[in-house]
Symmetry: C2
Subunit: 458 residues, 2 copies
């Protein structure tokens, strides 16, 4: 391989030139033909050379124009819309601090258990490594999930539960099933920004209800149901994103009573539920999976790389949703993914991991809140759990301007209005406390707040 | 664990009973408390017992009603519609022979390379195991794909290529981007049944053009473009599913000329391309990714479990499609999946695997064709590659009736009309030659053809 690389680098071989035949190079180098074949195949896989079937190997025509780095970096001139935080935080280099992102750093995740699961994967049945999964997803993982649902007071049967490619895909499938373009959907204000992006993709009409520390403002909720007739309400009832609010039992009851009166379906996204110190009321438990559809995933607690979500709901709806997932994804999540997740969950170390995570987050939330307060940034709520602090900036500062200034210095923040349908959160910012240990974050934040961001290159 | 299991089985502990405290059981058993914690956690993960936070462990209330098997078996009474083959073949037990399915058996896949890739995964960076991927998917895999596209004569830049959750998701994203409910879409007749299911989900109006051994009937294609004004044409130009037909250069040229005249966008699904003995013309290569969008995946050649597809097309369209994938899936395919696929592709053994696979399939197609002919089942075409034989049954036999009879004897077949928009393939059947080595398949097929299926239990 290095011999060929050298010839190409030194221009002895140019773009489009035919490489020596396998037999002749093997003789020249004193190695076996199979060694040359493997070297050529690896160079071909790298793109340096190309195989033409039946005619040998050639230097790639593009070999002189390696990929420019500018082509693969995220663009900074994007509009600050519901996609802004996703784009900037998903595509930023690993080294870029991301207090705006919605997940935990790798060192907070159960790395050892995931590595054990990957090793077990290497030894599992060949069919798990090569075959499509079943249409509802791994039976073993669904059984584990039924147990966990039961711990939340949600008694479901196996045909009320399906696995999906991710939590987002779970919401997407439900929207495809229940919504037609122009239908009205109710969300919280503020709410997870990707609900807004997803509902735009469905051409839904979006209305919103203000969030209070104990759930949606319930009188307003009742009014909206009467006046706007939404088809769907999407919410996090436990540790709401971005505020950290948790619904009270009374609010949950009034909300479901109003939902029944107006035939509203509720999607309860329980993605942060495992971060609670003790279980709060769940809409799905009160309702018994009648008009509430429960969704969730493992992205925040176990791995965001291993993609898998789930939907629990009425059995007749699940049957339709399974068909819809076949039509649009040809089945459920990867059997490789469900094998890894089931392995970690069944291994018995998950509960300990979550206990430790909750304790670590309690300390970190307290420390970060104190440091933010010193900058005049005030948490709107002291959340019971999770890794978000939803904060008001001091003195009417505009969060979008601050986030743009921070991005110029390579720090990704999450300005309030990306979460707000009514665009009334311009002075708010969501901070992910687990991504704020780097002193650079605080330096950049201080400068950005002062409205004197360092210019690029200075 | 076995002590607790024994007590539950023997009814010493009943549903809802509290388990001994960790400390007391540790003392009784003479083990450490951490051993008891781990045993309880594993039993909880299995669903036999449940943890209540802060209050100990209890026997599950559902412990006396284990999952009935009938709940998880695929239903047989389903309508024979475009979902029929997917449902029956995805959800059937591994032991059920599936000559109707659209993938290769595990022993035909590169199992050793996949196991190596899983072992490498266990040693990779923690961020690959725990983080979301970038919005366009792994840069390493996209670079490998650019090389492979170039071998097909498709020169694309990195911002013309995105990874998706699967090949089906690639098609789905394109439909979401380009179609509105009621738009007309053109497919081949016959075509891959899931195109029909997918387009139904998009509420598209579906029209079809007859397939010939050298691609779509091109005069009819031109007429349909004039009269029906389809927005999109979805096809496999190489080793078409289900017929095995391959487009000729002349047909490709006329097709693209008509497409330009009527501003038609073409989705070329190249999923079977790697099974060709030598490369045939590609619409995407002729067109230069202008109005042709190329999609593909690794499900047929490398692994259907490790979910990943791709889209190559106009850079401005890819940018929108990436946003749409963020909104609906929060990013591209799992980094775990792309790491495994890139590892196998870059390892250099993939080309050899495909060479062997092609030779094995050539022999198998010939042997199966001969055996089918002995039953009066005639291949419509002798395909240049791949694993399908599209065949006409003898004497006007109805393929749906034959498939239903075979299913009663636990063999999944693929009757012609699930592939046919015009419902004119009632005498055709698609056979997957790699799933026909079991003599039971031939016994069942013979009986089903005779119209005398064995009754259940006989």
């Amino acid at each position: 391989m290095s011999a060929i690389r050298g010839k190409i680098a030194g221009r002895t071989l140019g773009a489009g030139d035919r490489l020596p035949s396998i037999r002749s190079l093997a003789t020249t180098m004193g190695v076996s033909p199979s060694t040359v074949v493997e070297a050529y195949d690896r160079l071909a896989a790298e793109g340096l050379i190309r195989a033409r079937r039946g005619s040998g190997f050639y230097v790639s025509p593009t070999v002189t124009s390696p990929l420019a780095l500018t082509e693969v970096e995220p663009r900074r001139d994007r509009e600050v819309d519901p996609f802004w935080v996703s784009r900037q935080s998903l595509d930023a280099d690993a080294a870029v601090p991301k207090p705006g992102c919605g997940w935990l750093p790798p060192e907070w995740m159960p790395e050892a258990a995931l590595r054990r699961a990957a090793r077990a994967l290497a030894r599992t049945d060949a069919s798990v490594l090569t075959n499509y999964g079943s249409t509802s997803g791994s039976l073993a993982l669904r059984r584990l999930l039924l147990t966990r649902l039961a711990e939340d007071g949600i008694e479901a049967s196996i045909n009320q539960l399906m696995l999906t490619g991710s939590g987002t895909q779970a919401t997407d499938l439900i929207c495809r099933f229940l919504l037609r373009p122009g239908d009205t959907v109710l969300v919280d204000d503020p709410c997870y920004f990707n609900f807004r992006a997803l509902l735009r993709a469905h051409q839904a009409r979006i209305v919103s209800v203000p969030t209070t520390p104990s759930g949606p403002e319930v009188t307003r909720f009742e009014q909206i149901l009467g006046s706007e007739r939404p088809r769907l309400y999407i919410t996090n009832s436990a540790l709401h994103n971005p505020t950290g609010a948790t619904i009270s039992l009374q609010t949950a009851h009034r909300l479901l009573t109003a939902a029944a009166a107006h035939d509203l379906t509720v999607v309860e996204d329980d993605i942060f539920g495992d971060f609670e110190p003790e279980r709060s009321p769940r809409l799905a438990a009160l309702d018994g999976l009648n008009r509430v559809i429960r969704i969730g995933s493992f992205s925040k607690t176990l791995s965001a790389s291993v993609r898998c979500g789930y939907i629990a709901g009425r059995a007749d709806w699940i049957e339709h949703l399974v068909d819809l997932q076949v039509a649009t994804s040809f089945g459920g999540p990867s059997p490789v993914a469900t094998e890894i997740i089931a392995n970690v969950l069944a291994g018995g170390s998950y509960r300990k991991h979550m206990d430790e995570l909750r304790h670590k987050l309690t300390r970190t939330r307290r420390d970060v809140a104190r440091k933010l307060q010193a900058l005049g940034i005030e948490p709107w709520l002291t959340p019971r759990g999770g890794f978000f602090l939803w904060c008001r900036l001091a003195g009417g500062q505009d969060a979008t301007t601050v986030a743009r200034a921070a991005l110029e210095e390579n720090v990704v923040l999450a300005p309030g209005n990306v979460f707000s349908v009514s665009q009334t959160a311009q002075n708010f910012m969501r901070f992910n406390v687990a991504h704020m240990s780097d002193p650079q974050v605080w330096d950049v934040l201080r400068r950005a707040l002062k409205g004197t961001p360092r210019t690029i290159g200075a």
